[in-house]
Symmetry: D3
Subunit: 319 residues, 6 copies
């Protein structure tokens, strides 16, 4: 084989000098470890990627022809739903088990038997599964709210396929069910999967009534202790946030207090409005775009932004 005449040497592959880099990256800092020293035990963490599959599969089981298989017929839908739920609940049980392990490590340092955690995970998965028909029922009301409330919507199929607000409320209702089963980490992961896909950030703790509709949605933030009634409509970039974080006399944050707004039934909140603190927006009120609200509003109110800026136009004026 005389193809090649030798010329100059040339090294092919870099020597990355990995040893030190690997050593540095393979350390977990002490303050990212659980508080207890569980030196000879090890439990796997939940996996966001698996939870992403789980909630997409659950959505497929809730709306089989839209998010499962568009070729399903009445004859075959229940096979799809049953098979999808079976696989998905098995996956979910494993993730629940992982959160339970993690809770145990962080919270009391005691170690429970795998069998008892296994059993508990099974129980919680069963409880979760039982909430699905109710979630389906209330999501149908959300779909109808969007269909009836938006002049542009031409079919409920369009609503299901195209409204990020419907995606967000679907994922939220699943996340909220996990949250109520004392699985806050799984619930938060689901909420962030939704946030990443829709731009809508709803904390899984928020309580939201039926026929809820978010239009456009990018930038919406809804906090953990929000309570939202029925038939509420919200536009993009609305914030339902906390005004401040109460601290105790030592300066430590006090956790778990109600600190986000209560939105009563039939309220509409236009884009960019910011509503902060444990205030109540009374039934049937309308909050205008970009309004900044930190006080209670009685039922039937109609709140708009100050007019000042629209008087300020000057043709040809500059900044």
């Amino acid at each position: 084989m005389s193809y090649l005449s030798p010329t100059t040497k040339s090294s092919f592959s870099g020597h990355w000098g990995l040893e030190d880099i690997v050593a540095a990256l393979s350390q977990t800092p002490a303050d990212q470890r659980p508080h207890q020293n569980l030196s000879d035990h090890f439990y796997p963490l939940p996996a966001r990627e698996i939870l992403t599959s789980i909630v997409h599969n659950l959505r497929a089981a809730l709306f089989p022809r839209h998010f499962g298989d568009p070729e399903l017929s009445d004859e075959t839908t229940h096979y799809f739903v049953g098979n999808t739920l079976d696989k998905t609940l098995n996956l979910l049980k494993e993730q629940i088990q992982r959160e339970l392990w993690l809770q145990q490590q962080y919270q009391d340092g005691s170690e429970h038997s795998e069998a008892s955690i296994n059993q508990l995970a099974t129980d919680l998965t069963q409880q979760f599964a039982k909430t699905l028909p109710g979630i389906k029922f209330i999501l149908d009301s959300d779909v109808n709210a969007a269909y009836l409330g938006d002049p542009a919507a031409q079919s409920t199929s369009e609503v299901l396929f195209c409204y990020p607000g419907i995606a967000a409320i679907t994922f939220h209702r699943l996340a909220h069910a996990l949250y109520r089963l004392d699985l806050p980490l799984l619930a938060r992961i689901v909420a962030e999967v939704s946030h990443s896909e829709t731009g809508i950030d709803i904390h899984p703790g928020a309580t939201i009534g039926r026929s809820f509709f978010i239009d456009h949605g990018t930038g919406v933030v809804i906090g953990e202790t929000c309570v939202i009634g029925d038939r509420v409509r919200i536009y993009q970039a609305v914030t339902l946030g906390a005004k401040s974080f109460p601290r105790d006399e030592t300066g430590a944050l006090i956790k778990g207090q109600a600190r986000h707004p209560v939105i009563e039934d039939d309220v509409v909140i236009y884009s960019g409005a910011t509503i902060l603190g444990r205030i109540t927006i009374g039934k049937g009120s309308t909050i205008g775009g970009n309004v900044w609200l930190t006080k209670d509003v009685p039922p039937g109110s109609f709140i708009s932004q100050a007019r000042i800026r629209s008087d300020n136009f000057e043709n040809g004026g500059g900044i």
Copy 2:
């Protein structure tokens, strides 16, 4: 095999009690079905996942080396483009057929032959294909607008790879072509694929001129009946929306009316501006950040936000 000494029983797998849950989830509520009772017929729905592939493939055919295959050469680009279009148009035809079936079910209850729908889907796909060179031509103007308009852009490759505004306008121009072929559901699905990836929400009905540029883009909303001229530039969180929804004397929403702004040529709109209603922003105007506008603006205007807040600084002051 004597490995195992019998101890206690322990059930392995949960009994999910699926029967009732599956029955509940497999029902489609009556108001989510088409209006007609088409008991012995069944047509598959469009699939968002397939449309996502379709528009990514079309973008690859429009910019083959950037979104198709970076190793294409002048010799081989047309093979890639032709092969990609062939596969993609076949997929698109199938989706068009599905929207036509759905339209038929919702609209008049009559049932057309599959052959006629098949033929119509083929015709519409051909018409769509013929718009692609024009879309390519105008997208090239958008790319140049971004390249010339942003001091940070160092090459048109950077513009194509890195500007969510370019992704959004690419997908919009494809969605708009579908919209003009009376395929509003496919068009909306494409628009939402774009919204989810870019944070930019452009209704497929919006008419947008050439050399259009959105910078940053998160939170931009552009409504269905917007008309935007040439060389318009828009920053993040700008809303071009409707002020209100007109209703007829019965209180029903009146659909299809022009209700979003007209933006003339050479307008610049800075971040966070909200422009609502069928107003006209005159040629060459500049709209400052966070401005709230609901009235016409003559050509050449320079609109800025009220100065008030910048006078309000108080060192050490609180909320």
Copy 3:
């Protein structure tokens, strides 16, 4: 085989008339080509999809149990990290090579040997690899900042899995390392991968200190020449932007000037605040929600929005 009785003809597949369409789409406009006429040479472009894998893999190497493999143990983590880095650095070197080719084409038209570009790409990859331990170290401070700063966070695992701000700062620190190695295109692509996933838009040029925390995050924009100190906290929809683009006497944009804010240590900026221009926000200041700022602020300031609008409530009033 007598199954079929001949009936009517029906054509199966559309004739897409691809030839002209393909010809039109396969052209690259002259102004999207590099300036030099390099007729008989061809270099592949970088690929955003590969860079997406690269940064996800690097994140997996930085936080192996959270983003790599949740079943890793102390015994096996370093194998995972080493193997992941090896594969990823090989991929990165190839992408660096492609950016170097592109730079050469755009910048001076001279053509360097493949061997020298190959060597340079190897060197830059090695330099990049060496920054990873430092990035890991500072990211650990970011994770702690989030964990300590948010009353809702229950574990550092929750912070890593659920905070888009942590995803954004992770990708930013990687993008910034590329930016400092004079690889601006790769850096920008990484930044846009992050923007698309998190809704947070940080230019890779921005300099950001340790213990940085963005909460919620959707709509945040941080410009190229920003300088941000340690322990800074930022909420959703905050803009740290340029006020205007300085032009020289010929009207051409002047590039590369410092034009974005300097945020000193321990500053908090609440949601929706807009801070524009090369101004300085003094150490320890708090900027309230929706504030619009274009002037320096001394250390320890507490800036809030004008109160006007909250005085404007009128029950039952209208827009």
Copy 4:
């Protein structure tokens, strides 16, 4: 950017000179086209890859816990089976349609309506589906035959997982059902999928009774017109072939004649035996290894190879 000092030119990518090569490869020789000139019609061919999926899915529906999902329980098996069948029958119908198109082109040149072919494909798919319970029933007898007949088999699970003969007879029974529906091309493709995976080559036309067992199996060939009774056992490298191909007076091959052996009930055929022509091996016979048989054998026979060779041993002898 001064990284690179210009040195020598070096072309990156080959010019493959594809145009002529592509032109040559894109031609279909006339004798590989259907006989009729169907210039303005086009029908897609069946796809072996899809048929491979179809038969694997059907096997999963026939043995759900072994080839479908090992985690299925009694509660969930029917969901899996129903969902798998639904998807698979849809795929199969499409492939049947393609074979029908091809038959039409090759056989009479007439062109039938798509609707009639569509309907016929649906009918044939339904007929095929109805054969599945019977196939399951007889395959259970095959599994038992293997379990009882091989001293090494320790469970029916082992038989299902590990015996290529069970894979081959499973695929054969499916292929034979297609063959009997006058779909010889699909049937042959399925048979070759099986041949490739198992090394066992059974023509789909062969008629095979229950409790059939092939051990080891590599190199077995069973011809189209074979008729095999119940409880027959066959070892590796057995050929049940044709002795010669009868020709008519013009020298043309006469097709479709019975030309392969009839193997009656309870016959055992050891490895390497070659049985050629339309002969009958009587009930209960045993055919020894490497025997070459071209004549009928009465029931109860015990045929062995000539002993000659075993007399021929010479220690230290050579070839």
Copy 5:
């Protein structure tokens, strides 16, 4: 939308009539269930697909640059090996657990705790892992035997990539290790994965010495109780089988008896030879092609087929 004029009805999708078919396929016949009635327990079966991955991964760990990642360097090989082993042993442990469950069900009906099976599976996985260095060592001798024994082999890389005999012995040595850990089902599945890929059928029970070489290999069968010495060479279609299955006085098969040949060191067996029963082929013997052997052969023998057939040539003669 007036595209469609109503014509004739045409049903879209078949009604497959799945209910009865699904019911029939979802039954497991009683004789395929374990003997015990374990009505309220359920354990998943092993999965052949997972075992296929496992043995391919193990081969990659044994020969990292050939079957793992061709770009590994001396610096990075151990990361790849460690990471691959970690993932693979986790997978293997799960499969071992499943075989243990199945053994328990079939064998004694007693039910052991999950924890004890879990622990046992861990122990067996550790024992298996410890055999890997020895397997690597002996496989290196097999590779050398092929390289030195075949005049066509030009490098050990060619041997590793191209010799099905090397693939078969690699998989066999892994299967044999499982077999010796009393995991016969996993062992058999691995053996059949190998059989399907190589056409070489080696029972996992066979004991095979070092420097073993099979050339070409298709059709080779090696039985469960074979004992093969060092430096043995075998060609395609060789059978090392049982002559008959001994039965006890009741006619039942007697299991587990030594019934396959003993092949001593340095034996060569040419293609198509059939060696049956518990006979011994003495050290250094050569067995010619197509020989049929059922008696012991002393060391140093040279056995060839009878010459008869080569005397039978007749020009122009016929069958």
Copy 6:
């Protein structure tokens, strides 16, 4: 969180004790390394998986509607072919480069520049591409030979989809082209990909004329120096092998000598025939099943196996 009552400890994950195992497996034995000590250089090996893709892609380019995309039309086939070739030749060039590196290491120890190897790989890829039209032409003759020669074949589509002999000769003609370009390792890998899929083992060095047809095929072996004329037909389990390996006076194997049969035009060889050594089977001869041949055969011969065994039948006789 009071779900869990602490019970007993239970370790989760095994400690695999990987360190020593990894160390043992990460060593490459000295005799598997190239002969030269090239300590500071490293080149990646070819990858069988990539070559598998390459030859499947090439087959798709040779028969686009059968192995590429069944929905291709006359309008679109050339796009598919061109695009497939482009991608595939790029992949092939990389693999060629790797074989060249390996050759250099094994053969002379000199080290050539990467640029020269790169150039050579490009040249060889171009030469290979130019052989494709000729390969297509001769493969068309093979397809016709199968179609005309088998009474069962009903269309050339059936031949292409279902005949392992066609798959084998397709892959062989590609492997032979690589072999003739002095790329023996790539050629052998391709041959073994074919062997594994079809059970037919053809050494890439074999020279095979047009209209070649192998029926059934399992177990066929064709040696390196075989020369086969036109219109030859071969059945399953035929061996065209070497009789012995000539050695020089030192006992070393003499490589490269012609040692396999010459099969002249129009020969038919029935199943199981073994033909060994550099003998010639004269034009038009027929070799019967299971014949063992080691001497020349004149043209027109009709060779059959001895009749002895068929006289040996004894009803009821035993072994």
